[in-house]
Symmetry: C2
Subunit: 360 residues, 2 copies
């Protein structure tokens, strides 16, 4: 630095706040982001996660980092959010990665695949098992950096108009089921249907479809399926948990001040744990109300699980031979799943089992 | 505002940064806190949670909010942390609330009680079931505000030199077991022992004690118990999960700028989910190594669970008749536990059960 310049700067500094000004500008930068959610506001727990992030980020930056949350259709359609982030139309979105499995099945490994990981396994793989690094490597090809942002826990298999007593009852069954689960239902002899949320109830009522899956008791109750399909099956082998993710456009992320990045990451972690907590707190009471309203709880027959397990392993091995991106992430995913699942049967599983027995 | 004052301020403002200075000072206030941990650095997952908070808070404030983490004995002994926060000797601590059940058993309801809630239930009660508000009301009497900050998940019952085939084998059994669990072991005929972590191994080796509980595979492996007590029992009915909490002195909290408060809260939530993730990722491999090294896995016999359940309900009902603080929090805790546990058997439990069966 030239001596004259130094003196001049120092002089201004001593007279006012000029010397610290650069830090001030950086720390207090006004940043406005738009977040496109894939979820309707009626799904308050899932849609709400984006609001948890938005509120926390605002509070932690004195309102300087604003993230405005938009419902589907307000700026981007529900399933257009990934592309909107990729292209930079919006800075970020909150979505279910499994929605984009048709584009590349690898997306689903950041959300859920049939016979995949439970909620705690998935979070463990993300945070401490190398999962997050692997999915981020995949997402970098889409100009996206991802953040785990919520999980529903194990879902229910869905609402069926007739009892499912064995594999035969799935033959020709028209079932509304999204994403990867549809591929599995097809392998089991069913006919997967793609129907938007609002149209499911009338289709089920008229018998246009025989069954539908949605999420779990708390969300399902809102759509009233128990009125038109009495049999409520568990568990969802297609969604043994379902992670939601927050996608951020890579350039928008890189342009974000480091302290705002840190705030954003912590806010996503908070929304991640908060969503699972809300489902866990609200599902039990909703299930009781559903049963009181006539829902008949049933476990999917064991042969359905066994045949499904066999079918998905064929699908996954086929994918691994064709898609190197899938192969790389799936190898870590499936190894982690297989290495950890048995542990949960010992301490947590046997504790839960006894505690549940005290209520019977 | 008087006109003259306004003009003067405006003039200074236009010449420099004076007008924005108050906001700058607030947003960039240098805050230094000391955090006393109850845990040795060797328990990297638990001790590490305080470091996760410290690092996140620093990164999110450009280094302006510094929290220095101290191991036990550096500023406060392991079990002196609660009092140190209450008296303002340190601004905050990271601890297991159950350590202070002797002072008032209500503390344990923020951590774990025998036959209490599993990890997901506890977090759900904290975040969405009214639990956090209730424990904070209790803590306000100690000048403390609490933040959930980690959970171990269901622990193992412990290491036993001899097999436990029934209740008779607990009679006169000298077991190192901390806190509330000790009260239960005593009711079951055992003799609870209070021994610091570093002294357990020699006591077990010499036969001064017959058994010890610690945490779970990942932590237990470090202390080498498998070398001197072969039988490794599950689950810990005394710690079906164990929540750790971050206590902040109320005055220190109130003096903290609002944006730093927001950062701190999000950082605690992040550490909360991060610790459970680390245990879930690391326990399975540790269990495999322990078994490979000769540990004999055993389930506690059903009569032990049944007798224990009966005993704790007598203890809890006795406490409720004597301690109104306990009664208020326990009523919410036990209702939430009882209302939610059955739900976990349907979707999550049956999914986990099938998935574990694929590995046998």
């Amino acid at each position: 630095m030239k001596r004259r310049t130094f003196i001049k700067t120092a002089a201004v500094g001593s007279a006012g706040a000029a010397l610290t000004a650069p830090a001030v500008v950086r720390g207090q930068a006004q940043v406005r982001w738009r977040l496109a959610s894939s979820f309707p506001k009626s799904l308050d727990t899932i849609y709400g996660a984006a609001e948890v992030v938005s509120k926390r980020v605002a509070a932690a930056t004195g309102g300087k980092f604003e993230i405005r949350v938009f419902a589907p259709g307000e700026v981007v359609p529900a399933l257009g959010v990934q592309e909107a982030v990729q292209q930079g139309t919006v800075e970020c979105c909150h979505t279910a990665p499994t929605y984009f499995f048709g584009k590349d099945p690898t997306f689903a490994l950041d959300g859920i695949i049939p016979f995949g990981m439970n909620s705690r396994q998935m979070t463990a793989w993300m945070y401490d098992g190398g999962g997050l690094q692997l999915v981020r490597e995949f997402y970098s090809g889409y100009n996206i950096i991802s953040f785990p942002c919520g999980n529903t826990g194990a879902q229910m298999a869905g609402w069926f108009r007739k009892e499912v007593k064995g594999l035969d009852d799935l033959k020709g069954l028209k079932m509304r089921i999204a994403g990867f689960g549809g591929v599995l239902i097809e392998r089991l002899g069913g006919v997967p249907q793609s129907i938007p949320g609002g149209d499911i109830y009338p289709a089920l009522e008229k018998g246009t479809i025989d069954a539908t899956e949605w999420v779990g008791p708390y969300d399902d109750e809102k759509l009233g399926f128990y009125k038109v399909a009495k049999f409520y099956y568990y568990p969802s082998y297609w969604e043994g948990s379902a992670q939601l993710s927050l996608y951020v456009n890579t350039k928008a992320w890189e342009a974000l001040p480091k302290d705002y990045q840190a705030v954003f990451e912590a806010a996503c972690a908070e929304a991640h744990v908060d969503m699972q907590a809300k489902y866990d707190a609200r599902n039990p009471a909703a299930l009781k109300r559903l049963v009181a309203n006539g829902a008949q709880l049933r476990a999917l027959p064991r042969p359905v699980a066994e045949q499904g397990w066999k079918a998905v392993n064929e699908i996954y091995s086929d994918l691994s031979s064709k898609n190197p991106k899938w192969k790389k992430v799936y190898e870590s995913y499936s190894r982690f799943r297989d290495d950890t699942i048995v542990w949960f049967r010992f301490a947590d599983g046997s504790f839960d089992s006894f505690m549940a027995s005290t209520k019977r």
